[in-house]
Amino acid sequence: MNGAGRVLSTLAGIVYAMILAPIVVVVALAFSADDFIVFPPSGYSFRWFQALAGNGPLLDALLLSAQIACVVTALSLLLGVPAALALNKGSFPGREALQGFFLAPLLLPTLIIGLALLLFFTPLHLTATLPGLVLGHMIVTLPFVIRMMTTAFSTLPDDIEAAAATLGATPWRVVRRVTLPLAAPGLVACGALSFLLSFDETVISLFIAGPRASTLPVEMVRYVEGRTDPMVAALSVVLIAATLLVVILVERLVGVARAVGN
């Protein structure tokens, strides 16, 4: 018995077609010339991309989402990387418990976290504000950063750090000049993931966003609910392209960083 066999491959192929169908349909629909969601479209055009370029609320939301994702990424790395470093370098009692504590936010569904934040933020007037949305997204991104960076640090070779320390470098200097540069690929990947997680975050944002500050996924939900035209498809194509760009960029950057590291 070699490989997957014909029956299994065929079955898997059918399911693959199902998995890809929504994405293929969205891409085709983005170039539709129709006024409504009709598939297959009766004609093709760029009109929905043009309409998108003139849609103020969606573009504002896109800008705000990008801003939030940048701040969330910076702060998550700022808080998460030192914590991951300590978890990795330290051997103190309660290390495991602390690690579990940092990953705890991943246990609750975002629906529950969103509700808890709504109740918490409302008296503090943090709902529908940029700081509020940033804090909300960080609950999702910070555990990921800490988990990914703990793994990244643990795969680094010890001997270079040991050599630096033996040669008289202070611990801070070892971290700054040896550990972090060695972990650069992990940092880049971690930052990109954090950005994408924040940019895509929908449920928590639905609870704590408002008319004054609304993120792109929230606006997309509202748009899909209210209207039935292919504009969201055009926007989706832009988003899918941007996601691919980030992934390819990271691949390149990490590849380059690895080459430099070697």
């Binding site: 490989g3 997957a4 998995i19 929504p22 598939f39 370098k89 330290g90 602390l98 109740l119 960080m138």
Partner: protein, 296 residues
């Protein structure tokens, strides 16, 4: 080497293993953040469940089970629970039936493109949920792909209603949990011993019999874990029921959101949220126990 020369070297660890890095200082900011923005609000959610709703609809600070009693006295809660459980059950079964061949294929294939195929299988995870739901609306809608084909073939004269009802929500939900279930199944297949299958085949079992009597029983623990995961994810999914249901589908998740935002009835939202959490916890325990029992 240097240890022998340096009198203090013996007392110093060879690696800068934290001794002199201010570890608490490194952990503190992140720990404070999790405490302030996660632990404290979650405790607040539990606290809110004991508050009452006044006659004007405003929240009244209290330490009572009044709201809990009201929520469970309402027959709508039972209906929501059944809706949530039934939807999750059907979506999980559908997703399992579709995920299993893909996971087994990925586990067995010797293709050069295995890595790429694995990424494509979990691609829905990488694309925004709203985008995928929009795609499903275009496929299943009145003037969508499925109705178009069915009408062209002359199978139906008027469009079938496939969205904004349970059918649409079930399909959308099944698709959204599939990547996670494929990953869970793949992780579980690690225990699958190919030599047992080869023995069955060489002893004359047909491929189907070999699958039913060897492969499937051996992968039962993986199935239990994947099903448990899919069920829990379905129960707590909110966007899919809301968008694919078009406001006509009522499950626990949609009701929690409705009570929290439109009705601003926080105590009821909190009670429903905790109730959902308890259900999820029970389900996770059942799946874990089932997986462990099946492993023996």
């Amino acid at each position: 080497m240097t240890d022998a020369l340096h009198p203090l070297a013996a007392e110093r660890p060879a690696l800068p293993r934290g001794r002199r890095l201010p570890l608490p200082l490194l952990v503190l900011p992140a720990a404070l953040f999790v405490l302030a923005v996660y632990v404290w609000p979650t405790l607040g959610l539990f606290r809110t469940a004991f508050n009452e709703v006044g006659p004007t609809g405003a929240m009244v600070e209290a330490w009572s089970l009044q709201t809990t009693r009201e929520v469970f006295a309402d027959s709508f809660t039972a209906e929501l629970t059944l809706n949530s459980l039934w939807l999750s059950l059907v979506a999980t079964a559908l997703a399992l039936a579709l995920s299993y061949p893909v996971a087994l294929f990925l586990f067995r294939t010797r293709s050069r493109f295995r890595g790429l195929l694995a990424v494509v299988a979990i691609m829905p995870m990488l694309v925004s949920g709203v985008v995928r739901i929009f795609g499903w609306l275009a496929i299943l809608g009145d003037r969508g792909l499925v109705n178009g084909i069915a009408q062209w073939l002359g199978l139906i004269s008027t469009p079938m209603r496939l969205v904004f009802n349970w059918t649409g929500v079930t399909i959308g939900l099944a698709e959204s949990i599939m990547p996670y279930m494929i990953l869970a199944l793949l992780a579980g297949f690690g225990r699958l011993d190919r030599t047992l299958e080869e023995a069955a085949r060489s002893l004359g079992a047909t491929p189907l019999r070999c699958f039913l009597r060897v492969t499937l029983p051996l992968s039962l623990p993986a199935i239990a874990l994947a099903a448990g995961l899919g069920f829990v994810l379905s129960m707590s999914s909110y966007i899919t029921p809301r968008l694919m249901g078009g406001g006509r589908i009522f499950v626990l998740a949609t009701e929690i959101y409705e009570q929290a935002t439109t009705n601003t009835n926080w105590p009821v939202a909190a009670v429903l949220a905790i109730y959902t959490l308890v259900l999820l916890l029970a389900l996770a325990v059942v799946a874990r126990l089932a997986a462990r029992r099946l492993q023996r």
